[in-house]
């Protein structure tokens, strides 16, 4: 029936009670008056858009997809999914060259890796930043993550035999950041897991989880990545009986939740086997495994909960692990968005909003004055390091540093 096409929503917008609680927790609304806010952009707007796509509002692009509206909603409405789905469904503006480049994290990584020293040198130059600012509208304040000369995949492949010798095995979805920019995090994970008697394997061939493609209006490409990655997960989980871990909260959220909810790619048979590494390690320790910590370790750690981890509700595992380390003074920072939201903060038009959103978090970090900020998200790391000067470490790297 024709009518159904227009009156059916896959999201539960009708459960919105119009209580406006989500608007109190939207970080964008605090900084950008052009954004209509989660209630208006999500459930209210959905009702209108179903009647006539004319009501789609381009200002929905200001949504960070931080999902704090969903965390706050007392009625369980998938507000962020409503907004992102509407962008996928109604916004057919072709993405700009800049957005394509920012979104293609694994392609750019492949391209840059062989020339890492040159690329790092060039992207770090003031003149390059100015050129990118003017021509591409990539804000000049941003520092591009450095590329590593050796990929993590290459490093781990050389240790295949050694890893295969461990009695228990796990597959690692390392993501673009670990592979091309910061293999050390992957190496740290291998160290911690090996200490627990667990060997680390790669997936047969992983692709970028696709979050940057989704938020930059390239959902068709994102869907291809999703289909590919779910097939890879099935191979590991169903054929080999492995758990799959990641060290990036956003990769985990994307593959567990965005694939089925936004891209329509079913992952029900593997979803529960895809875990954040901190959860996997916590569960091992809970079942009796032990880690041997160094004597005399001392660190004051302020933990920042990334938005996507707040949404997943798994920050408790990272928190409990860090608290377990003898000699750690642990401070839980108030859960606030840092403002970068992946590629969002790199765009010139978003720079000021991005910094304004993050300011309460930066101010709290400065007042706590920790030795290090801990956080499970790579883009939060860039933002906090750039904006506060404090070093940010993944909890896995802290664990690796603290064990013998």
């Amino acid at each position: 029936m024709k009518l159904q096409e227009y009156t059916e929503s896959h999201h539960n917008f009708e459960e919105c009670m119009k209580c406006t609680v989500c608007t109190a927790y939207c970080p964008v609304l605090q900084a950008n008056p052009l954004y209509p806010g989660p209630k208006q952009a999500g459930p209210d707007g959905e009702r209108l858009r179903l009647k006539d796509p004319y009501f789609f509002n381009q200002a929905l692009k200001y949504c960070l997809n931080c999902k704090r509206c969903e965390v706050a909603c007392p009625s369980g409405v998938n507000v962020a999914d409503l907004i992102q789905s509407a962008r996928i469904k109604y916004d057919h503006t072709p993405p700009k060259l800049r957005d394509r480049i920012l979104a293609s994290t694994d392609f750019m990584g492949k391209l840059a890796r062989p020339f890492a020293p040159v690329v790092n040198g060039v992207t770090g130059l003031g003149v390059t930043k100015t050129v990118l600012d003017v021509t591409m509208k990539i804000d000049r304040h941003r520092t591009f993550p450095k590329y590593s000369g050796t990929s993590f995949e290459f490093w781990l492949k050389r240790r295949k035999k050694e890893q295969a010798a461990f009695p228990e095995q796990v597959a690692y979805f390392h993501g673009c950041y670990v592979n091309y920019n910061y293999p050390q995090l992957g190496k740290d994970l291998v160290k911690v897991l090996n200490a627990l008697g667990v060997g680390v394997q790669l997936l047969d061939k992983e692709k970028c989880c696709g979050i940057a493609l989704i938020t930059n209006g390239m959902s068709a490409e994102a869907r291809k990545h999703a289909i590919h990655n779910v097939a890879q997960l099935r191979q590991a989980v169903l054929d080999k009986g492995l758990k799959v871990v990641t060290t990036s909260s956003t990769c985990a959220l994307t593959m567990r939740d965005e694939y089925p909810n936004l891209l329509g790619v079913d992952n029900a048979d593997v979803r529960e086997s895809l875990l954040l590494a901190t959860r996997f390690i916590f569960e091992k320790l809970e079942k009796g495994a032990t880690l041997k910590f160094k004597a005399g370790y001392h660190k004051k750690i302020a933990y920042h909960t990334p938005c996507h981890l707040e949404k997943m509700g798994w920050a408790i595992f990272s928190e409990k692990l860090l608290r377990m380390i003898p000699g750690v003074e642990f401070i839980l920072l108030d859960s606030n968005c840092c403002g970068i939201s992946g590629t969002y903060g790199f765009k010139k038009e978003n720079y000021e909003v991005s910094q304004a959103i993050g300011e309460p978090l930066f101010a709290q970090i400065r007042s706590v004055n920790p030795d290090v900020v801990a956080c499970d998200c790579e883009t939060c790391k860039w933002q906090i390091e750039m904006s506060t000067g404090y070093t940010v470490m993944n909890p896995i790297s802290i664990l690796a540093e603290a064990i013998e």
Partner: protein, 374 residues
Amino acid sequence: MKFDSVIIGGGLSGMVAGITLQKAGQNTAIISTGQNALHFFSGSFESLKEPGQRILDLFAEAGVRLHYSPGLWLTPLGTFKESALSLEDIDLFPERKFARKVLIVNFLGYHDFFSSFLAEGLEKQGMSCRVRFLNLPELEKLEQSPSEMRSVQIARTMDRLWEKVVQEVRVLLKDEDAVVLPQVFGLQDTSVPGRIRQGIPARVIFAGTLPPSVPGIRTQILLKQRYQLLGGTYMMGDEVVRAHVHDGVVHSVATKNLDSHYLEAANFILSTGGYFSKGLISNPFQVYEPVFGLDVEYKEDRNQWYNPAFKEDQPYMHFGVKADENLRALQDGKPLQNLYVAGSVLGDTRPEFGTAAGQAIRTALHAADQILKK
């Protein structure tokens, strides 16, 4: 994950129980399905007839100052309700006529504060009223999106702009002995309402707006911070989907976010709230409690659930989960050994603990005490 106690529901009741247990040395977790009824809080605890130093202390330690002065509070519609305990910035009056002349001040373009209703209500009590609007250029930014000119957005700017409001009000003030302002002050900086009162040479009354409630959110933030500072684990945005109960004892609960990772505890508190928070659910046939399927006190005949006269006392508001004298939840007529019930999921079934926010606090303290006595 193992805890001493797991509290299901993170509103006023859950946080009061959590703070009490943490302070007594327990390791607890609170699971909260989104934000809670404090976001609709009037700022006044309606039922408490006696001060209870313990309650004042618990809130003061969290940075929430309360005052005990039995009387009447001014509703957002210009009527009065009885109360005894309030947040510091919410006034309680010994009698309805609290001033001779009242200046009611609102912000231009802000529709969630009912200044004309207030004026009408106060004039009925013999106070002459004047309504004026402030046009602050700093708020024009908010007006670009009129649907978002809300209490909290204004409150965020008021932590910086309150002095300007004081100046403008002083200019407007003639011979009035009271000024009514919307409750949009002191969201982050709790000293702001007090400083406004010092700056205006008349009695300043902060009256309620449409939700979200700024004093309520402030209370939520401070109580949650206190709970976390005491080492409590607050899990926001998660939901208990299943409970594992054997032989009258709750062993663990499963949540939406943690799927197969169960939360185990020696004791559990159910403080999931009323109908709005889905602590109680009604359908055409029954009123039920969704997490444990506990016994619920309600009328069989659906026609007796409500009173067609909208403003009258509504029977469905009295329905709630059944509990024994120690607030242990009843399932099939028998108490579960380690599950306690607190807050509005009890409905008005336990008048001895008061109603509304007062009941939320008292049942929470009682439940926590039962656990600590064990």
